[in-house]
């Protein structure tokens, strides 16, 4: 179910009405049921996968904390994916061929998991915790790699062998990518690691943990929450406050504006500029990437705002993901402002464990490259995403080894003019990054770069009025950012008078409503 669908407009109020009337236990069960319903609207079969991840991480985290669960309980709960898939098969949901295959896998899962669990308990005590952690990480990564990267690496290998003149003679199965798999597997991995590091306590209750993994506002595209942030909020009943309602509705309104008005309208230009059949000139190459920069920002930060707003209406705080990213003055600053929860995840679970910047410049740069390449690959199974990660690693490296570049953005050390230059330079660099990110393949990227060699207006369609279209949709977002700048938050402008705020809310609503007809899916669902 998409946040910008009419189904969600009915689902959320109905869930809220029930939620605030229920005691704590009822709320948790409602959240799990509601979240599974929300996710199952895309494809109910993949709920079995979500359930499997939940089962593994729940029992493994308890084991890491030294608490052994009885085999019968493990077997019973681990049978839930099988029960669900059998029900899907019986009711004819999904394609029967792949569902039957999944049912077979789910039938083996309780036996295999319960056996592996008992086997690990048989290890020496000093190895047990680490083994359960590795089991948890590996199972999450296996699920992620299979569903997200099997076709990518399999296809790349086939292509390579083909180039070498050897026909492998196999046909790769088409594997459907479950929505949001990258987000919930990363959240589950961080949970197991945090329990292992003793920075978080494992959830005692299975349903509370299931609510943590599947919490619908952030299930499919984040923010990627840490267990010490989200789990305690689920473990105690939230109190109904007017502040939750006000903040939640503000976030949802701003999120809808960003998604429906800014992103979906900028997408029209980006889709044209990055279409293989479009004859490009310099003007359209620039306009296309500008449009995409605002499309992806409006789309993803809009999603995050609606997610945070929906959670807030349930009395739950989710972390922010964006803070004026196009006002960053250097690459490190950009990553502190763009997709903050993912940046923090890679920092805490990849970069720092690799040694971070504790072992000198060269090791630090190596760690940056590993982290950024993985972050690029996380975004999608395509070499352009890897290149995008590499491009940002290169920027981070350059700004580290060339201090003159980095100092451009140092506000305290330099004038406002130098700060502006730093922001403009970083924005231009991020545009190049978005061109890499948006291109389907290297040929398309090459086409985008070569377009800058042709500034003939007659090479393609008129760009002046479409530029006006972009300005008409990106401009209001920039004005909103100017209004919220002082609050250092993208949705708050409490320092303005109430009539001004009322007028802004009205305008945001009308601008979003004037564009709200087509159902355009959020970009980050595919990651």
């Amino acid at each position: 179910m998409s946040f910008v669908s009419w189904q969600y407009a009915l689902f959320l109020p109905a869930l809220l009405l029930a939620y605030w009337r229920l005691p704590w236990r009822g709320r948790i069960l409602l959240l799990v049921t509601g979240s599974y319903f929300f996710y199952g609207m895309w494809d109910p079969r993949f709920l079995a996968l979500l359930l499997t991840t939940t089962v593994v991480d729940y029992f493994n985290a308890l084991a890491i904390a030294g608490r052994r669960a009885p085999s019968a309980r493990i077997f019973g709960i681990a049978s839930l994916p099988l029960v669900w898939l059998t029900a899907c098969l019986a009711t004819g949901s999904g394609h029967s061929g792949s569902t039957k295959w999944a049912v077979t896998a789910a039938a083996f899962f309780p036996i295999v998991y319960a056996s592996a669990y008992q086997l690990l308990w048989g290890l020496p005590v000093r190895k047990q915790r680490r083994s359960f952690l590795l089991f948890s990480i590996m199972s999450n990564l296996a699920v992620l790699c299979f569903f997200k990267y099997f076709n990518f690496f399999g296809g790349s290998l086939t292509l390579l062998l083909d180039h070498l003149g050897w026909d492998p003679g196999w046909t790769l199965p088409h594997i459907i990518l479950p929505v949001g798999i990258s987000f919930y597997t990363f959240q589950s991995i961080s949970y197991a690691v945090d329990v292992y590091r003793n920075t978080a306590k494992p959830a005692d209750d299975f349903f509370t943990f299931a609510a943590f993994v599947s919490f619908f506002p952030q299930l499919v595209a984040g923010p990627i929450e840490r267990c010490h942030d989200l789990l305690p909020q689920l473990q105690k009943p939230a109190v109904l406050e007017a502040a939750h309602l006000h903040r939640g509705l503000r976030l949802i309104l701003v999120g809808l504006f960003k998604k429906v008005f800014v992103a979906d309208n900028c997408a029209v230009l980006a889709n044209f500029a990055f279409d293989a059949k479009t004859p490009l000139n310099g003007q359209w190459a620039l306009l296309g990437v500008l449009a995409f920069a605002f499309q992806i920002y409006g789309d993803f930060s809009g999603y995050t705002d609606i997610a945070r707003g929906s959670a807030r209406l349930l009395g739950i705080h989710l972390n922010s993901n964006f803070r004026f990213p196009y006002f960053a003055s250097n690459p490190a600053d950009f990553w502190r402002r763009w997709h903050q929860t993912l940046s923090a995840w890679f920092r805490d679970y990849v970069y720092i464990p690799l040694g971070g910047n504790r072992h000198g410049t060269s090791i630090s740069i190596r760690n940056v490259w590993i982290t950024m390449l993985l972050a690029g690959l996380w975004h999608g199974a395509n070499w352009t995403y890897v290149l995008w990660g590499g491009y940002h690693a290169m920027l981070l490296t350059l700004f580290r080894v060339l201090p003159a570049l980095d100092q451009l953005g140092e506000t305290r050390l330099n004038s406002r003019g130098r700060q502006t230059v730093g922001v403009m330079l970083m924005f231009a660099l991020s545009l190049v990054g978005w061109a890499i990110f948006r291109s389907k393949d290297m040929a398309e990227l090459g086409r985008w770069f070569t377009a800058f060699g042709n500034w003939s207006a007659s090479a393609t369609v008129d760009w002046v009025k479409p530029f006006g279209w972009w300005l008409a949709h990106a401009g209001p977002l920039l004005l909103l950012q100017a209004a919220t700048w002082k609050a250092r938050d993208e949705v708050e402008f409490a320092h303005f008078s109430w009539p001004f705020r009322g007028l802004v809310y009205t305008l945001l609503f009308l601008l979003a409503a004037s564009s709200a007809v087509n159902d355009v899916e959020f970009i980050y669902f595919q990651f």
Binding site: A242, V268, T278, K465, P466, T506, F509, A516, V517
Partner: protein
């Protein structure tokens, strides 16, 4: 204090409610039916205070902008052409409907002709335009009949019906304020600021479904029958109003495997011939073109180049003269 309703929120509600009332009170007449997807009886026809009618691009009905008097000027022969993208052509001046007037004037007849072609319109939607066109005292209406737009007609009909349903999907657009804003943005910005090549990539497409349906013989028979029924109804409409109607049957220019071009009337000639009778005339595009080197006159299988439109305009004028229609001015 823990107030549930804040002043800015209240102001927003008041502003939205007030604006809705104002729009409903003062601007409701301008509603042109975007969400009726071409099924609105008057979308695209704007009747001005000065007694003229403007054809505008509105309500999913993309007329070329034209203006004419509501009442036919005395002694003027008025031809209104209704149909799809074929008669619509690349512009009024370059299309056969737009060229009819010039050809009649060259014969000394005081004449005017208007192009009411809308791309993608099938028999059902053309009939709605024809019904409105009959209000403007045409001397003759030309109904260009094609049978390749029925899928689109059906799809848009379903959309129009769905919009009228209770479905929550449409609740937002039930607000006249939002509806008008959306329409204004689409008509004044989306259509005017973005070139066609850009717009088409931003539009959702169901081309695959259309192609699939067009290969289904049962479906084609069903569509042909619908074209016949709607054309019969259109003929009856014109007869009731005492307006002569000229049915033009579309033809296609197809290339066979050996590279030869041939004309295919897709059964339309056979379908339309039985309608000939009092006040109902027939012109076959196939017959018009088969005597000529026709392939260069077609831009693709169905659409005409400038010379093709010129040939069609000549044929229509000849038909009008042959049937003594152009004397009735």
């Amino acid at each position: 204090m823990n107030r549930w309703i804040t002043a800015p929120f209240l102001l927003m509600l008041l502003l939205l409610a007030g604006s809705e009332l104002i729009v409903r009170g003062f601007f409701a007449r301008n509603m042109s039916g975007r969400f009726e997807y071409g099924y609105h009886p008057t979308a695209g026809f704007v009747e001005n205070q000065d007694g003229t009618v403007s054809l505008v691009r509105a309500g999913g009905r993309r007329f070329f902008p034209q203006r004419f008097s509501r009442r036919r000027p005395a002694g003027t022969f008025r031809v209104l052409v209704v149909g799809d993208s074929v008669p619509r052509g690349p512009s009024v001046a370059a299309s056969y409907p737009g060229r009819i007037a010039g050809k009649l004037q060259a014969l000394g007849i005081q004449a005017e002709s208007y192009n009411m072609g809308v791309a993608g319109n099938g028999a059902r939607r053309s009939q709605i335009i024809l019904r409105k066109a009959l209000d403007y005292e045409p001397s003759v209406v030309v109904l260009h009949v094609n049978n390749s737009n029925e899928y689109e007609d059906e799809r848009e009909f379903k959309r129009a019906q769905e919009f009228k349903s209770w479905s929550p999907k449409n609740w937002l657009m039930k607000s006249l304020l939002v509806h008008r804003l959306h329409e204004a943005k689409t008509e004044q910005m989306f259509w005017k600021w973005l070139p066609g090549e850009v717009r088409i990539l931003g539009a959702p497409t169901d081309a695959d479904a259309e192609v699939q349906a067009s290969q289904n013989l049962a479906k084609i028979r069903e569509w042909d029958e619908r074209v016949r029924q709607h054309t019969a109804a259109s003929v009856a409409l014109a007869r009731d109003r005492g307006v002569p109607i000229l049915l033009v049957a579309q033809t296609r220019c197809r290339q066979d495997a050996s590279g030869h071009y041939a004309l295919d009337d897709m059964g339309l000639d056979r379908m339309l011939l039985p309608f000939i009778g009092k006040g109902v005339y027939f012109l076959s595009m196939k017959e018009v073109f088969q005597e000529t080197d026709f392939a260069p006159l077609f831009g693709d299988q169905a659409h005409l180049r400038l010379a093709g439109h010129e040939r069609m305009a000549e044929a229509v004028v000849n038909k009008l003269r042959q049937e003594n229609l152009s004397r009735g001015g």
